[in-house]
Symmetry: C2
Subunit: 195 residues, 2 copies
Amino acid sequence: MTETQILNYALNQFAGIDAEAFELSAPYWQRKTYGKGEFYNEYKNVCKYLGFILDGVFRTYYIDDESADEKNVFFFSKNQVVVAYKSFVTQTPCSYYTESMTESTVLYIHINHLNELYGRSHHWERFGRLVAETAFNLAMNRAEEFMFRTPEQRYLELIQNHPDIFNNVPLYHIASYLGIQAPSLSRIRKRMVGK
Amino acid sequence: MTETQILNYALNQFAGIDAEAFELSAPYWQRKTYGKGEFYNEYKNVCKYLGFILDGVFRTYYIDDESADEKNVFFFSKNQVVVAYKSFVTQTPCSYYTESMTESTVLYIHINHLNELYGRSHHWERFGRLVAETAFNLAMNRAEEFMFRTPEQRYLELIQNHPDIFNNVPLYHIASYLGIQAPSLSRIRKRMVGK
DNA sequence: CTATATTCTTAACCCAAGTTAAGATCGTCA
DNA sequence: TGACGATCTTAACTTGGGTTAAGAATATAG
C-alpha cells in the first residue's frame, strides 16, 4: 500500500471517509519526516496542522516552572492523529511541547484546508466531530487515571492497554507519564516481582 | 426576565444562538426541579438530556469499587450546562452518578431534538461543537490539575477560580474533588493560616 | 571489544497524605 | 433553647512517593 492508501484506509476506519470525500482532501495532505527530538509543535506556538502518524512516536510534555522538569502528558503513535488539540481548535499559543521521540513520518493538513473540507462534505464534518470526541476521551481518560487510580494501577494499566508505548519508550518517560519519579517507578516494578 | 429569556440570553452568549435559532428549539425545552440528593443521571443509565441550570449545584461522582467511597469529578452550577457528556454523545451507559446537591431548577432538551436542530441550523451545529469543546476543556483542566499541581495548589486555585463552588459545598465534598481525604484538607487549611 | 553515554536501580532520609477514631464545632428544628 | 445530626478538626500512626546521589546495567559508537 502507498502512504496515501494507508491514510485513506485509516480515515475510512475512523470516520467513514469514503473515496469521494478523500479525493476532496487529497491535494491538501503533505508529508514530513521528523528526526528524534524534533518538534511537531513548540511551546507558545499556535498549532496549525493536524497530523496522521505513518510511523514513529510523539510525546507532548509540559515544563513545570517550579520543578523545572518535564511532565509527559500524551503519547501518540503509529496510525494515530497527532495534534495540540486545544491550540489547534482555538488557534491560540500552545502550553506544551510536542516532540518526536523517534524517526517519524507524518501526513498533515492545514487547519484552513480542514475548515474548508468541513463546509464541503458531511463526511468531513463528521471527522471534525470525531476528532473532538477523541480529544475529549484522551483528556478524560487521563483525568480518570489520576483521580481514581494509584501510580501502581496506572503502571499496570499502561502495560496492559498500551504495550506499544511501553515497549518503545524509556522508563523515565513512562514514570513522568504516570506522574511519578523514576525511583518510584523502580520501586513499583520491584514490588511487582512475584505478583 | 422569564426563564425562557434567561435561557435565550445564555445560549446567545455561549454560542451566538439568535432569536430565530432559539425559536426552533423553543418547543423542545422542558423544565424540571430537583430536590437535594435527586439524580440528574444515574450510574449505568444512558444520559438522554442536555440540561441548562437555572439554579442550583450538581455534582458528578464516581464510586470506587475498592475503597467504596465517592470521588467527585465535576461540579456544575448556575447558568452552566449539566450533562454526562460521554454517555450523552455515545448514548452508552454512564460510569458516574450526577446528583443535585441543592434544590435545583433545570431546563433540558432531548438528544434527538438536539440532533434535529443540528441539521436545521448552523447556529445549532456551532452550539454542538462548542459543547464538545467545553467538555474537552473541563476534562483537560481536570487532568492538568492532577498532573501538574499539588493538592495544596489545587485547593488555592479552587478558592480563586471557583468561589461559587467553594462557598456552597461542604468541605468533605471539596476534599473529594481535590483528590484527597477530609483530614488532609484540614491539614492544608491549617498550614495556610498565616500565609 | 572496549570506552562512553544513557538508562535503570538502589539506598537513606524526608515529608505529605492515608487511615482510624475521637472530639469539637456548627446548624437546625422541635 | 437544647438536643441531635452533620460537618470539621485533631491526633497518632502507617505508607508510599520525593529527593539526592551513588552505583549497576544496558546501548552505542569508535
